[in-house]
C-alpha cells in the first residue's frame, strides 16, 4: 500500500510530483510571528526542515505546538516574518496549491462522526481526486477492514486516528505533520505509525512530530526542537 512512489527524487534537490514542484528545504520559517485573535502565540520562530528529515517538536501545554503545525500546514498566515512550505510563500495565494501535498493529523480527529470509517476515507479520496477503491485498501492497511462500516462517532479515539493515518497512506503527501501521534494508539498502531513516519522520510518527504513522549520521538527523529515562550530553541 504505497502510492508515494510517484514522487521521484531529482538530482537538483527539487523533485517533481503530481502537480507541484517541491523545493528543498521543505519548510523554512524565518522570524515568524503568529497571532490568533488578539493573542500572540508564536514569536520569532526560525525553523528549517529538509527533505528526508524527521523532526520532533516539544513544548509544554499551551506552548503553541498545534498553532505551529497549522502554520506549517499553510492554514494560518504569519503575522510577521517570512515562511515557505514546499516552496510556497506562506503569505501568498500560492500556498493553496501545495496543500494537497501536506498531511496533518491533529489531536482532535477531523473525521465526520456521522459517516462510517470507510465513508470518511471515500470522501477524502473523492475530494483529493484519488481512485476511490484506495479507501478500502488503506483501511485494511491500518487493520480496520472489519470495522469499515462502523460510524466514526461510534468508534474509539484510537480507531479514528488509525482512519486518519489511512487517509495519509491513501494520498500522496510530501510533508506529514503529526500532533501527538502516539496518544490513544495501541502497541500495533504505534508500530504502524512509526513505520509510516520512517517510510515517508526515506521517500524524500519530511515529518514533523509533536509529542510529550521525548524518548519515543528521540528514537526515530533526526533532531528535535522545543517551543518555549512562543519561540523555538
Amino acid at each position: 500500500m504505497s502510492d508515494s512512489s510517484s514522487v521521484s527524487q531529482a538530482d537538483s534537490g527539487a523533485y517533481v510530483s503530481d502537480e507541484v514542484t517541491v523545493i528543498d528545504p521543505l519548510v523554512v520559517l524565518d522570524g515568524v510571528d503568529v497571532r490568533v485573535g488578539s493573542m500572540q502565540i508564536l514569536r520569532d520562530v526560525n525553523l528549517e526542515v529538509k527533505a528526508g528529515e524527521i523532526v520532533g517538536l516539544f513544548g509544554s501545554n499551551g506552548a503553541g505546538k498545534t498553532t505551529a503545525l497549522r502554520l506549517i500546514a499553510t492554514l494560518i498566515r504569519p503575522a510577521q516574518g517570512v515562511g515557505t512550505v514546499l516552496g510556497a510563500d506562506l503569505s501568498a495565494p500560492e500556498r493553496y496549491d501545495v496543500r494537497r501535498k501536506i498531511g496533518m493529523i491533529g489531536h482532535v480527529p477531523g473525521t465526520f462522526p456521522e459517516l462510517s470509517l470507510l465513508e470518511n476515507l471515500e470522501y477524502a479520496a473523492r475530494v483529493a481526486g484519488v481512485p476511490i477503491d484506495r479507501a478500502k485498501d488503506a483501511l485494511a492497511a491500518v487493520g480496520l477492514a472489519a470495522a469499515s462500516d462502523r460510524l466514526a462517532g461510534a468508534s474509539s479515539h484510537g480507531m479514528q486516528r488509525r482512519t486518519e493515518f489511512a487517509r495519509e497512506l491513501m494520498i500522496d503527501r510530501s510533508l506529514l505533520l503529526l500532533d501527538e501521534p502516539h496518544s490513544a494508539l495501541d502497541r500495533d498502531a504505534v508500530d504502524l505509525v512509526e513505520g509510516l513516519i520512517e517510510r515517508k522520510a526515506a521517500e524524500g518527504g519530511a515529518v514533523i512530530v509533536v509529542s510529550h513522549d521525548r524518548d519515543r520521538i528521540n528514537a526515530i527523529a533526526h533532531r528535535s526542537v522545543e517551543l518555549v515562550g512562543g519561540t523555538l530553541s
Binding site: R35, V36, G37, S38, M39, Q40, I41, L42, R43, G59, S60, N61, G62, A63, G64, A79, L227, G229, G230, T231
Partner: protein, 244 residues
Amino acid sequence: MNVQTRIRRWPWVAIVLAITVAFVLSMVSPKDDVQGELVRIMYIHVPAAWLAYVAFFVTFLGSLTYLLTKNLKWDRIAAASAEIGVFFTGLTLALGMIWGKSTWGVWWTWDARLTLTAIMFFVYLGYLALRRTTDDPISRASRASVLGVLGAVQIPIVHFSVVWWRTLHQPPSLVRPDGPAIQESLMLVALIVGVLAFTVVYVSAMVKRIELIHLEDRRIEIEHSIDRPVAGDSVVVPELGAKT
C-alpha cells in the same frame, strides 16, 4: 490655540454651526397648510433618511474596496459609516412613525420606502452584530466586507420587489405617506440647509469614528510590539509535581 487643536476641534465647530443654522431656518419657515407645525419634523426626517442611504452606500464602497485591496483602512470606513447609517435609519423610522401617527393616525403604513428603510435597518443591524462577534481585525474585516457587499447588492432587488408589491396593492389613500407639498421657497431652502447640516454631521462623525477605530487598532498593535509574554507563558509548572 495651536494648529493641531484647531484641526481637532473643527468637527465640533462645524456641527454646532450647521445644526444652528438648520434649526433656525426650520423654525422660521412657514407651517404647512394641512399639517401645521408638524411639517417641521420633515426638516430632520428627510435629511436623516438621505444620510442613511449615503452612509450605507459608503459602507458598500468601503467593503468592496477592502475586499479588493485588503487595506484595513477601508474596513474602518465601512464600519464607521454603517454605525452612523444605523443611527440615522433608526432616527428616520422613529420620526416617520411619530409623523405618521399625528398626521394619519397610524404608527406604521406599508409604504414601499418605509418598508425598505425598515429592512435596511435590520440588514445593517446584522452587520454591526456580526462585527461584535470577532476580535481579530483581519478576520472581522473580511467577514464584514462580504456582508457589506451582499447587503448592498441585495438592496436594489429588495427595493424593486417592495415597489412592485406596493404598486399592486395601493394602500388606503388616507394613509398615503407623501410628504407635504413644498409650497414656499423658504421651506425648500430650510430643507436643503438641513440636508447640508446633516451631511456635515455625518462627515464629522465619520472623521471622529474612523480616528477612534484606528486608535483602537493601534493600541492592539502597540501591545503586540512591546515584549509581551506569549499566550503559552500563562501555563507554568504545577506546584504539586514541582521539585522543591
